[in-house]
């Protein structure tokens, strides 16, 4: 019991956000008369938010470096979808090649900003504000202000489900369920492995009951999720892409030297520098990475709209930044997790989706989202001042 309380106290923010997500989910489930959690709506909800979630992963890294934000992500999304149109439609290149080139475009945009931020030491706010204007202009020049239809493969990436290779299981999408089972099995194996390793080093790895309860709950959640999707259209490529990105970036932030350097920089830049961390390099790659992830989001978004449009990506940066702060990022840097950003993104997404179902006007939606963001950050400030007293 002591231990559970201890764990809870140490991770109160993280768990707090998870509880907030569940609470908001339940509230809207009731308010929408059960529509919110219908399989088809869950599938749509993820589909609608996948690009914001992808952006939130990169944005979280930017915020970790010291509360810095990237205002240009929406413009990079637009520029990348425009350059996809340029490569695949105007130049007639094969789609895989044009996707590859578009990713390079996003990466270069990120490196351009990283250069000014890291090496010329211009504040990120200003660099990315300028980037927002520049990339938006580039987008409009490429498209000449017109909307361009994209080839089918883009749409497949954004919205199609994986083939049901096991054959039709009637209403259920069987291969989705199989993937769910495989993933949960992999998860359990990995957890057992790391626990064995901890024990080998002679550390208290926590009680067995708690451990078993934890892996059972998570395995159940995974399978419930895939079962739910299987009742709709099944697992989409976009969801797989999102999950893969979450896993990779969680690994980078938690387990690698690079991730540790990002946290250290945000926690205390001076101490980090005097511990031998190359601050410039970290800043450069965090922003270059943001450009790269914005490019991935851009391709998914273009596929969802089935086209490249001059107004694509409008306001994405704001939703993304809000998602990170709602998800527990500290406005002064050094605190926050990838999972937190995803939870924050889902809170935003469920609010958007739920309020739309309820027919609340977009003006009120905007007000409510703004208030939630303020309260989330106020909670962060409050809990920090409490921590100082303790």
């Amino acid at each position: 019991m002591e231990r559970i309380r201890d764990v809870l106290r140490h991770n109160i923010r993280q768990y707090g956000m998870l509880f907030a997500l569940i609470a908001i989910m339940l509230i809207f489930q009731i308010l929408t008369g059960g529509i919110l959690l219908r399989p088809i709506n869950v599938s749509r909800l993820i589909f609608q938010n996948s690009y914001i979630l992808i952006l939130a992963i990169g944005m979280m890294l930017c915020i970790l470096t010291g509360g810095h934000i990237d205002l240009s992500v929406g413009s990079i999304v637009a520029m990348v979808s425009a350059s996809s149109a340029l490569f695949s439609v105007k130049l007639g290149l094969p789609v895989p090649l044009s996707i590859f080139l578009s990713l390079i475009v996003g990466l270069l945009a990120g490196m351009w900003q990283g250069f000014w931020i890291a090496f010329v030491k211009i504040p990120p706010f200003i660099v990315t504000l300028a980037g927002m204007l520049i990339f938006n202009g580039v987008n409009n020049i490429i498209l000449s202000g017109k909307t361009v239809l994209l080839p089918q493969l883009y749409i497949t990436i954004a919205s199609d489900s994986i083939p049901d290779f096991i054959g039709s299981g009637g209403k259920l999408h069987l291969s989705t369920i199989v993937i769910g089972i495989i993933c949960s099995a992999l998860y359990i194996i990995m957890e057992l492995f790391s626990r064995a390793k901890k024990k080998k080093f002679g550390y208290d790895a926590g009680s067995d009951q708690l451990f078993i309860a934890k892996i059972i709950v998570i395995a159940l959640v995974i399978n419930l999720f895939t079962y739910w999707l299987a009742r709709a259209n099944g697992l989409t490529y976009a969801v797989i892409l999102l999950v893969v990105l979450i896993v990779i970036y969680s690994f980078i932030t938690n387990k690698t030297v690079a991730g540790r350097h990002i946290y250290a920089l945000g926690g205390n830049a001076k101490a980090a520098e005097l511990s031998g961390i190359n601050i410039k390099r970290v800043m450069f790659w965090v922003y270059a990475n943001m450009g790269f992830l914005a490019a991935i989001a851009g391709i998914v978004f273009a596929g969802r709209l089935n086209s490249a449009s001059p107004t694509a990506g409008d306001g994405f940066e704001l939703d993304t930044i809000a998602a990170c702060f709602i998800g527990g990022a500290s406005a002064s840097g050094g605190v926050g997790t990838i999972i937190g950003a995803i939870i924050g993104g889902f809170i935003m997404g469920i609010m958007n989706n739920g309020m739309s179902i309820m027919g609340i006007s977009t003006f009120w939606q905007s007000i409510i989202k703004g208030l939630v963001t303020i309260f989330a950050v106020a909670f962060d400030v409050y809990s920090k001042s409490k921590a100082k007293v303790a």
Binding site: F201, Y203, T256, V257, R260, I277
Partner: protein
């Protein structure tokens, strides 16, 4: 001349864990220049902060009487209203505003909130000529030198109808000519009836202008010397400043076998990163033997921190030149991480702002400089990491609930131990320890001295910077004395004494002026 303008009675000020002022009594006569001298941390600035309301009434005990009236200042504004102005060591001017704007900042010549620029400029011109400043009122403060900025500060104080002016180290950042001008100005203003309290380390300046000198040590007044009555010599003052009894505060330093020279610096020159023309480190050469603890003594601002930081992978400074030799091999270090991988370590003087990541736990702080030791292909092995951190925690006796405790919640002494273990974990051959015991209690100090001894006995080269002379004398085998960016003396432990070191510093300053 005999009227008492300021009378501070039984002032006691306690910070958590430290008694900064202990029953201090200070009397200042109207129309005199009263000097306050003492070592770093003796309590001079604290006393002046009590007087000027920076530490508001109620946070200290004792009474302050100014011009016969009892004062209960709650802020600097209150003390200024009463006629007391303080000029801090770090100037508080806005560099992007003009001289006139700065003089009347927060005291604008205005009506209904609208500034009367004619009056502002006219009065500014008068004040500018009064302090002997040869600049136009419309010049930006960023365009004039520190010496002139100091004059602007004085003009600003005069604009407030001040009757008691406090100057905290006014000449610390000035060159000799500017210092001279400033002192002459003070004497002139004094002739016109202004009372001054001046805090200074430069004894020769103090003896030149002061009517009375009060010596303060460890939060207590030692004595007040009166010009013309008492002996006003540097020797006398130095003895008062440092003369304390040394009790057994240091672990015995065994006669370990000190080896050959392990680390050597030759002709090290560093310029100020913000000012290309200002040489901060002037041709410094020194060496450290293996197993030896070498101290660098000096006053604040002597350039000791700048010296070691510039050595530590150029973490400070510009236009750096000179040679670093480690085990006779020449090192070319461009970054901190290169310095770390060459076996150097630097524990910063300020553990909170530059030493630790306070929001992170003990484990993450300890492994930060050498994550490669607990990772493979850039992936951190957390079990290995926890094990390594736990080892350090036990070895240095860091009192905490475990390696997952946040460093921000530790006491100062334990935080300092985390800083040390972080650098011990990096397995250095050369350790620079900058003020390793600042702000921690006597017991923790003793433990840290013991750790330093252990490190030395392992054959590491250790350089300790400390502003506390007894500490330097207690733990070091050899002492370099630094002043104004140069090494001005070297003494063996046996030959050194606080008086000699202080004298060495002060004479080197005097020689320049």
């Amino acid at each position: 001349m005999s009227e008492i303008i300021l009378d501070m009675k039984n002032i006691t000020k306690v910070f958590p864990g430290v008694k900064a002022l202990d029953n201090v009594n200070l009397k200042v006569k109207r129309g005199e220049i009263h000097a306050l001298v003492g070592e770093n941390g003796a309590g001079k600035s604290t006393l002046m902060n009590v007087l000027s309301g920076i530490y508001p009434f109620g946070t200290y005990s004792g009474d302050v009487f100014f011009e016969g009236k009892k004062c209960e200042f709650k802020s600097v504004r209150d003390s200024e209203k009463a006629g007391i102005a303080i000029i801090h060591q770090e100037l508080a001017l806005n560099p992007y505003m003009t001289i006139a704007e700065n003089i009347f900042l927060c005291n604008e010549r205005s009506k209904y909130g609208i500034i009367n620029w004619d009056r502002t400029n006219q009065e500014a011109k008068k004040l500018i000529s009064k302090v002997g400043l040869k600049e136009k009122h419309s010049t930006l403060v960023m365009d004039i030198g520190v010496g002139k900025q100091q004059l602007v500060e004085i003009a600003k104080a005069l604009s407030k109808d001040v009757r008691l002016l406090i100057l905290d180290e006014p000449t610390a950042a000035l060159n000799d000519r500017d210092s001279d001008n400033l002192l002459n100005l003070l004497l002139e203003l004094n002739q016109q009836g202004l009372t001054c309290i001046i805090i200074s380390h430069k004894i020769h300046e103090v003896t030149r202008i002061a009517d009375q000198i009060t010596i303060i040590r460890d939060g207590m007044i030692v004595e007040t010397l009166v010009n013309g009555v008492d002996e006003f010599s540097e020797n006398r003052i130095i003895k008062g400043m440092v003369g304390r009894e040394l009790v057994n505060r240091f672990p015995p330093r065994e006669k370990v076998n000190i080896g050959e020279i392990g680390f050597e610096v030759k002709d090290w020159v560093v310029y100020d990163p913000l000012d290309d023309d200002r040489m901060r480190i002037k041709n410094v050469s020194f060496n450290v033997r293996k197993g030896e603890v070498v101290g660098i003594a000096g006053l604040m601002g002597a350039g000791r921190t700048e010296l070691v930081m510039s050595l530590f992978g150029r973490a400070y400074g510009k236009k750096i030149s000179g040679t670093i030799l480690k085990d006779g091999k020449k090192l070319l270090l461009k970054t901190v991480s290169e310095a770390i991988s060459e076996g150097m370590a630097y524990a910063t003087e300020d553990r909170k702002t530059a030493g630790l990541i306070l929001i992170d736990d003990i484990r993450r702080n300890i492994t930060l400089p050498r994550l490669d030791k607990v990772s493979k292909n850039s992936v951190i092995n957390e079990s290995l990491e926890v094990k390594a951190a736990e080892e350090q925690r036990k070895k240095l006796n860091i009192k905490s609930s475990g390696v997952y405790q946040k460093t921000g919640n530790l006491s100062g002494g334990n935080q300092q131990k985390v800083v040390l273990s972080k650098w011990i974990f990096s397995e250095p051959d050369v350790l620079f320890l900058d003020e390793p015991t600042r702000g921690i209690d006597v017991g923790a100090k003793y433990e840290i001295y013991t750790i330093i001894n252990q490190l030395a006995s392992q054959g590491k080269c250790i350089v300790v910077i400390s502003s506390e002379l007894p500490e330097i004398l207690g733990i070091c085998d050899r002492i370099y004395i630094m002043n104004e960016g140069s090494i001005v003396g070297e003494m063996s432990k046996e030959a050194a004494s606080p008086e000699k070191i202080m004298k060495c510093i002060l004479t080197s300053t005097s020689n320049r002026s």
